[in-house]
């Protein structure tokens, strides 16, 4: 579904990705884990053309999207729930969801809204509240809900667990699995919370300093001693997740 070959990208003269190869098949949940500053967010943003790739190619469902303007990439069926959520804080929850549906057929709107509100009942209570007044967890739900409003085939999720209470993280990951299974949305998940992400994902990649260093199924990487040492033990261990 998504094929990335020898992708280079960065900001100004600073290159952040040094030749990334990555594949996502339809129906999968693929996760990308790595430390802060490894280039995970840059990869997700480069898929959407912000920043633009300096070298290499991105193909989505067979078509080269490397040089397309962002809004056209998105219109092909890729939705992005970005790092930091980027909720429109001065717009209501409903308006945020309406913005998510910009590329969708307006006739689908009522059904899509219902579907998203069924996934995130909390949003329904807050429909006319401004985005900026939501809690972190609610904002994350809104960011994902907004992305789903466009009926994407590929959902890019950037650190949905960041800054959230463990209980909420569990909820969000459960919903991601539901979206993938029941709505057949392919998910590309970028996470620092490696334990949760690897458990959820069918396949996973590890990124270090702008390069993919390891790949495998979620279970394989979960069992890999190098991954355990670098991203699990001493980091987000299962024990730490259940702590206060």
């Amino acid at each position: 579904m998504l094929t990335i070959r020898d992708l280079h990208s960065g900001y100004g003269r600073i290159e952040a990705l040094h030749g990334v190869d990555l594949d996502i098949e339809a129906g999968e949940i693929v996760t990308l884990i790595g430390a802060n500053g490894a280039g995970k967010t840059t990869l997700l943003m480069t898929i959407c053309g912000k920043p633009r790739a300096t070298e290499g190619a991105i193909r989505f469902e067979g078509a080269d999207i490397t040089r397309l303007p962002t809004f056209q990439i998105v219109r092909r069926g890729i939705a992005h729930s970005p790092e930091g959520r980027r909720i429109f804080s001065r717009m209501t929850v409903l308006e945020n969801l309406q913005m998510g549906a910009v590329v969708a057929d307006p006739r689908h709107f009522p059904a899509d809204l219902e579907r998203v509100l069924a996934l995130f009942p909390r949003l329904e209570e807050r429909l006319n509240q401004r985005g900026g007044t939501l809690s972190g967890g609610e904002q994350q739900m809104l960011a994902i809900g907004r992305a789903l409003m466009s009926r994407p085939r590929l959902l890019l999720l950037d650190e949905p667990s960041l800054g959230l209470a463990p209980l909420v993280v569990g909820q969000i990951f459960k919903i991601v699995r539901e979206i993938n299974r029941e709505q057949q949305v392919t998910v590309f998940l970028v996470e620092q919370n490696a334990f949760h992400a690897l458990k959820l994902a069918h396949r996973a990649y590890v990124m270090v300093n702008g390069r993919i260093t390891l790949r495998g199924t979620g279970a394989e990487l979960l069992a890999n001693p190098a991954v355990r040492a670098a991203y699990l033990e001493g980091g987000h261990t299962p024990a730490a997740e259940t702590g206060p």
Binding site: C48, V74, R86, M91, E95, Q98, M99, V102
Partner: protein, 305 residues
């Protein structure tokens, strides 16, 4: 008291015109964070197109006033909008993503270009337009020593402005276009990630701003009956002051600011000194910037994350 009411009427009329221009400043600032210094000249272009339009109506022999007014209004809005669009396309869009001062300098350049273009094309002399809308209401008693008049033209100016502002507010707050506009204003990158064609939204903003400025240009042409290539400068500065006073980036702020500037100018001219009316207006700008930099209805830059 009669004198006061007369100044109130004059001030509101003037304020309506400033408000219409101020909207263009405030919207552009909101969406791309730049002061479009050429906007005053866009208004001047609108005034000239209106003038030419009225002369054309005369040549064509269209003497039914509402029809002539409406035709010239449409013509002026349309053509001025093209200017607004072109200015953004030529002078600002290539500089997006450049350092922050670049579009500002480009805007000043564009302002000079437009002024000189009109000066060359239309001549530097003041262009008169004979009064087209005559008459008005006498508001004071027949034996009063001061006569308050509310001209039909003033009524038209205020009504058109109120109508346009209401329509405009509706577009911004209720329609998909307005939503995309507000979203782009808050987070341009995110808006494009959701599939909004940000370039087009920015273009639309310039087109709308220019169309409103054209209406102001038309009304000034009718109201004062004289225009020249330089009217955009001072009116632009005042409308910009209005936008800052109301809170730049805020649409109701621009309307309120315009009204206040119009009133201040009218009352200052009436009760203090007409020579110093501009000083009064710009002193307000200085005071606002010192004591309330975000303006009357503006919001502070800090936001909850």
């Amino acid at each position: 008291m009669d004198y006061f009411i007369q100044q109130l009427i004059n001030g509101v009329t003037l304020g309506a015109i400033y408000g219409l221009i101020a909207i263009g400043y405030t919207m552009v600032y909101g969406i791309i964070g730049m002061i479009n210094f050429a906007h005053g000249d866009i208004y001047m272009i609108g005034a000239f197109i209106s003038l030419v339009g009225f002369l054309l109506m005369g040549v064509l022999g269209i003497s039914y006033l509402p029809l002539a007014l409406f035709t010239v209004l449409l013509l002026s809005m349309l053509l001025t909008a093209v200017y607004g669009w072109a200015v953004e396309r030529i002078a600002y869009r290539p500089l997006r993503g450049s350092f922050k001062l670049a579009p500002l300098i480009s805007a000043i350049g564009m302002s000079i270009v437009l002024e000189n273009y009109v000066q060359v094309a239309q001549g530097a002399r003041v262009k008169p337009l004979p009064p087209i809308v005559h008459g008005g209401f006498e508001l004071s008693a027949a034996n009063a020593d001061y006569h308050v008049t509310l001209s039909y033209l003033q009524v038209v100016i205020v009504l058109v402005t109120v109508g346009l502002m209401a329509g405009f507010t509706y577009v911004i707050t209720r329609t998909p276009l307005g939503r995309a506009q507000r979203a782009t204003e808050q987070d341009m990158t995110m808006a494009s990630l959701l599939g909004v064609n940000v370039d087009r939204v920015v273009s639309t903003t310039f087109v709308l701003g220019a169309a409103l400025a054209a209406v102001a240009g038309l009304m000034v042409t009718l109201y004062y009956g004289v225009i020249d290539f330089y009217i955009g400068f001072i009116a632009g500065m005042k409308a910009f002051t209005a936008a800052v006073l109301g809170g730049i980036g805020s649409l109701p702020g621009a309307m309120l600011g315009g009204l206040l500037i119009g009133l201040i100018e009218a009352f200052w001219s009436a009760y203090f000194s007409i020579e110093y009316k501009d000083v009064a207006v710009f002193s307000i700008l200085v005071l606002v910037l010192i004591f309330r930099p975000t303006g009357l209805l503006g919001r502070p830059e800090i936001e909850k994350v």
